[in-house]
């Protein structure tokens, strides 16, 4: 079978909370024929990743070249998503360490980490619970890709990629 990759949703530009809502509603509309389980997984990844951008991005002053970017594609049996934003390079090592950590965990270990953070963590000043990457990894069965592209002396363009298979979440008849 020939692999096809079709773009379903795309955003590039400043990201407001309302814009996140718009993207979520559009996704639910476009995935209406698919199982609730697949829609919930895609919805969860979108919320956690886009809210992560909204709360934690480091906006590069006087730059219009690297706004937040979100794209969702469908391939034959997979939903692919990619989310990018600017971050200070001083934060890259810590972010990378967090993502590498969750990437090494299996399903039950991710559940344990989630439990540990929710029971013992606190809500940050920015309103995060420290559970975003864990939740993203859980819907992706641990398979989160990430990269940092240096774009200025102090900034990188940070990207998270995910692939969610819908072999077991096929369209309803």
């Amino acid at each position: 079978m020939v692999e096809t990759k079709q773009e379903i949703l795309h955003h590039y530009g400043p990201l407001s909370y309302d814009e996140i809502g718009y993207l979520l509603n559009k996704m639910m509309e476009k995935f209406n024929a698919y199982s609730l389980s697949l829609r919930k997984k895609v919805y969860t990844f979108m919320v956690e990743s886009l809210e992560n951008v909204y709360r934690h991005q480091d906006v590069m002053p006087e730059s219009t070249n690297y706004y937040p970017r979100f794209t969702l594609w469908m391939s034959n049996d997979t939903v692919l998503m990619s989310v990018s934003n600017t971050v200070l390079q001083s934060k890259c090592a810590h972010i990378s360490k967090c993502l590498d950590r969750v990437g090494q965990l299996d399903k039950s270990e991710l559940k344990e980490l989630y439990r540990d953070i929710i029971l013992h963590g606190t809500i940050s000043e920015k309103g995060g619970a420290g559970l975003g990457f864990v939740n993203m990894a859980r819907v992706a069965d641990g398979k989160l890709g990430h990269s940092f592209e240096p774009i200025a002396p102090s900034y990188s363009y940070f990207t998270i990629d995910v692939a969610i298979s819908f072999k077991t979440n096929s369209p309803m008849a």
């Binding site: 909370y17 809502g21 199982s35 609730l36 389980s37 919930k40 997984k41 919805y43 969860t44 919320v47 956690e48 809210e51 559940k111 989630y114 439990r115 929710i118 029971l119 963590g121 809500i123 309103g127 995060g128 619970a129 559970l131 975003g132 864990v134 939740n135």
Partner: protein, 132 residues
């Protein structure tokens, strides 16, 4: 105490609590832009209810029904839902018998599993109710 009523919107859940009827209900989507600003006053309200109503009149308020009818909650909200449930468990440890009802759509495995995880973490049994 007055009835607590918060209308749901695209980002925040609806809340209905009539202290006289002893039924608390939270429903809908929870991903508030200001999660602390939404949940902190609710936790304070519940704490006041515990101290000023339940502990002041233990013989009157002997049971409390807690209905959770969430369709989605983000990770920051889950932390506050846990804190809220801890308050209800504290009430249950007193003279007020608390029953937690966790509603979920028939084919919504994610929400059902979220309830099971919270119940397991708290060591407190939930009553699961499938709807639709």
């Amino acid at each position: 105490m007055e009835i607590l009523k918060i209308q749901p919107d695209e980002f925040t859940p609806g809340i209905l609590f009539d202290p006289e009827k002893s039924v608390f209900e939270i429903y809908g989507v929870s991903r508030p832009e200001n999660v602390v600003g939404f949940y902190k006053p609710l936790l304070t309200w519940l704490d006041t209810y515990n101290q000023e109503v339940l502990q002041a009149e233990p013989e009157v308020h002997r049971q409390l029904e807690v209905n959770l009818k969430m369709t989605y909650f983000n990770s920051a909200s889950s932390k506050f839902l846990l804190d809220m449930l801890l308050l209800f468990i504290r009430m249950d440890a007193g003279n007020c018998k608390v029953r937690v009802n966790w509603y979920y759509e028939e084919d919504d495995d994610e929400i059902k599993e979220s309830g099971e995880e919270l119940s397991e973490m708290l060591g407190f049994p939930f009553n699961y109710i499938s709807v639709g």
